[in-house]
C-alpha cells in the first residue's frame, strides 16, 4: 500500500530548511510558494528519508483567481506519496519554475499545461505546444475559454 505521508510532518521538515516556502497545509497536500517550488522539490527528491524519485503526475486547475498546480510525488523505494501544490497568480503571463531538470517525466506534462492552461515554465528545455498547433489562439482548459 502506498502510504500517503502526513502533509504536516513533511511540511515541518521543509520548514526547517526553507522557513518561508510553505504557505498552507491541509490533510492531503502541502501548498508551497511558487518561488520556492523548485528548491522544495529538489529537497524532497534528494533527502534520503523522503527520496521522492518518481513524479507521478502534474495537473493544473484553473480557479479563476489563480491556477493551482498539483504534483503527486512518489518514492519507489519507500513506497510513499505526497501531494505538493503550488499556486500561480495572474492570468496574463503566469510563470512557474520547471521541474524537468529533476524529473524528466515532467517534460510532456509541463508542455501540455503550457499548451492547454497557458502557464509558462521557466527552464523547460523545449517549451512549445504539444497537442495543439503552434498558431493556436488561447488555452482551452482555462475556464474562460469558450
Amino acid at each position: 500500500m502506498t502510504v500517503s505521508l502526513s502533509a504536516w510532518d513533511v511540511a515541518n521538515q521543509i520548514k526547517e530548511q526553507f522557513p518561508d516556502a510553505v504557505s498552507e497545509i491541509n490533510d492531503q497536500a502541502i501548498l508551497v510558494r511558487s518561488e520556492s517550488l523548485f528548491e522544495v522539490a529538489q529537497y524532497l527528491k534528494n533527502r534520503p528519508e523522503l527520496n521522492f524519485d518518481y513524479l507521478n503526475y502534474i495537473s493544473a486547475v484553473d480557479y479563476f483567481d489563480y491556477f493551482e498546480l498539483v504534483y503527486q510525488l512518489i518514492s519507489i523505494n519507500h513506497n510513499h506519496s505526497l501531494i505538493l501544490k503550488t499556486r500561480c497568480y495572474g492570468r496574463d503571463n503566469p510563470t512557474l519554475p520547471s521541474l524537468v531538470s529533476l524529473w524528466r517525466g515532467a517534460d510532456f506534462q509541463e508542455r501540455e499545461i503550457y499548451d492547454l492552461i497557458g502557464i509558462t515554465f521557466k527552464g523547460h528545455p523545449n517549451l512549445k505546444r504539444i497537442v495543439l498547433w503552434d498558431g493556436f489562439q488561447g488555452h482551452p482548459l482555462r475556464k474562460d475559454y469558450l
Binding site: M1, N56, L132, P140, L141
Partner: protein, 368 residues
C-alpha cells in the same frame, strides 16, 4: 571509421505510417540509416477529452473514457469510476468488485495481445503473430460483447457497479477461455520466443535503464521491463487486488525483448487472477444505490489503476455540481514516450520502429 562525408537528412515517420500505431509522427534526423536526432510530434488525435469532461455529467464521462485507450476501454472505465467513487465516497457490492477484477484482467490480456502482436509485426513477422493474437483477443471481445453489447467501446462500468449483471452464459464461456488460453500462450511462445532473428533484433535494443525509467515517470510493462518491481496492483492495491495471489514479472535489461516478455508473462499472471476470482465470485447485487446524477461533495480525488499500458489515473476536482470541475487524466502512454528520443538515438530506422512498437502506446490516450 570511414572518411565518407555524409549529410544528415530529416525523415518524417508518420503521421500516416503503418507502424506508428495511430497518427503519431516522429521527426527523425538520419545519417544514412542511423538516427541522430528524433522529435516526437503529437496532437493529431487531440479531442480535448479533459475539456469535454468538464461539461458532462459524471456518468456521461464514462463513454468518453472509452475513447482514451480504445484497446483497453474497460480499464479506462474502471480507473474513472474508481476515482469518482473515491470522490463521492461510494462503496460497491462485493460481486461487482470481483467482476471488476475479472474484467480488468481480461482487458489486460486483450491489450497485451495486441501489444505483443503489433510488436512482432513491427519486427517483420508478416502478420502471423498479429493475426494469432487477434484471434485470442476476439474471444475476449466476444465475452465483453456479451456483457456490454459492444465490441470496442464498452461503456459497461458505472459509478457504484455495472449497468447489468452478467448473463448466465458468461461464466461457462469465461471458464472455457481460461482453460484454452494457457496452451495458446505457450504456442505463441513456441512460435517466436526463441527465434534467432527476433533475439538478434530485440535483445539489447532500445535499452531504457532503470534510473531513467523512474525519472521519466514510466509505468506499466515499460517500467517493469527495466527491472523496477512497481505494479499498482501490488504496491497500492485498489479494488480487491490484495485478495489474490500473483507475481509481478520484471525484466532485467530494459530492452525491447524484455518488454515483450514481461507482457507475455503478465498475461499468464492475469489468467491466474481470473481463475482465483472466478472461484471466489459471490452472488449478490452488482450495483449499489447511486442517484442518477451523482453530486460528489466539493473536493478532489485521484483514482488510479494499473492499466495495461501503465498507471492510468484520473484526478478529479468537484465543486458539488453534476459535472466535474476539472478532470485530469494521467495517461501512461504519453509519459512512457518521454524517453523515446534517448532510446532511439544511435539505432537504425528498423530498430526505431520496434522500439516504438515495444513501448506500446495508443494514440487515443497520448493525445486525448
Amino acid at each position: 571509421m570511414m572518411a565518407i562525408k555524409t549529410e544528415p537528412f530529416v525523415l518524417n515517420i508518420g503521421p500516416v505510417h503503418p507502424s506508428t500505431h495511430g497518427v503519431f509522427r516522429m521527426r527523425a534526423t538520419l545519417d544514412g540509416e542511423v538516427i541522430v536526432n528524433l522529435e516526437p510530434v503529437f496532437g493529431y488525435l487531440h479531442r480535448g477529452i479533459e475539456k469535454l469532461a468538464e461539461e458532462r455529467t459524471y456518468t456521461g464521462i464514462i463513454p468518453l473514457t472509452d475513447r482514451l485507450d480504445y484497446l483497453a476501454s474497460m480499464s479506462n472505465n474502471l480507473a474513472y469510476v474508481l476515482a469518482v467513487e473515491k470522490l463521492a465516497g461510494i462503496s460497491i457490492p462485493e460481486r461487482a468488485e470481483y467482476l471488476r477484477v475479472i474484467i480488468a484482467e481480461l482487458q489486460r490480456i486483450a491489450s497485451h495481445l495486441i501489444a505483443v502482436g503489433a510488436f512482432l509485426n513491427d519486427c517483420g513477422a508478416f502478420f502471423t503473430p498479429f493475426l494469432y493474437m487477434f484471434r485470442e483477443r476476439e474471444k475476449i471481445v466476444d465475452l465483453f460483447e456479451m456483457l456490454s453489447g459492444q465490441r470496442l467501446l464498452y461503456n459497461y462500468m458505472r459509478i457504484g457497479g455495472f449497468t447489468q449483471d452478467i448473463p448466465d452464459e458468461f461464466l461457462p464461456a469465461l471458464d472455457k477461455f481460461v482453460k484454452q488460453m494457457p496452451s495458446f500462450i505457450d504456442e505463441y511462445d513456441y512460435l517466436l520466443k526463441e527465434n534467432e532473428i527476433l533475439l538478434a533484433r530485440a535483445k539489447g535494443v532500445g535499452i531504457l535503464p532503470k534510473e531513467l525509467a523512474i525519472n521519466i515517470s514510466a509505468s506499466g510493462p515499460v517500467l517493469r521491463a527495466s527491472g523496477v518491481k512497481w505494479d499498482i496492483r501490488k504496491v497500492d492495491p485498489y479494488s480487491i487486488y490484495d485478495r489474490f495471489e500473483f507475481d509481478i514479472p520484471t525484466g532485467t535489461a530494459g530492452d525491447c525483448y524484455d518488454r515483450y516478455r514481461v507482457r507475455v508473462e503478465e498475461m499468464r499472471q492475469s489468467l491466474r487472477i481470473i481463475r482465483q476470482a472466478m472461484e471466489q465470485l459471490p452472488a449478490g447485487p452488482i450495483r449499489s444505490e447511486v442517484p442518477h446524477l451523482v453530486r460528489p461533495p466539493a473536493g478532489e480525488a485521484y483514482g488510479h489503476i494499473e492499466a495495461p499500458k501503465g498507471e492510468l489515473g484520473f484526478y478529479l476536482v468537484s465543486d458539488n455540481s453534476i459535472a466535474p470541475y476539472r478532470c485530469h487524466i494521467r495517461a501512461p502512454s504519453l509519459l512512457n514516450l518521454t524517453a523515446l528520443r534517448d532510446m532511439m538515438i544511435g539505432w537504425k530506422i528498423q530498430d526505431a520502429i520496434i522500439i516504438f512498437g515495444s513501448i506500446d502506446i495508443t494514440m487515443g490516450e497520448v493525445d486525448r
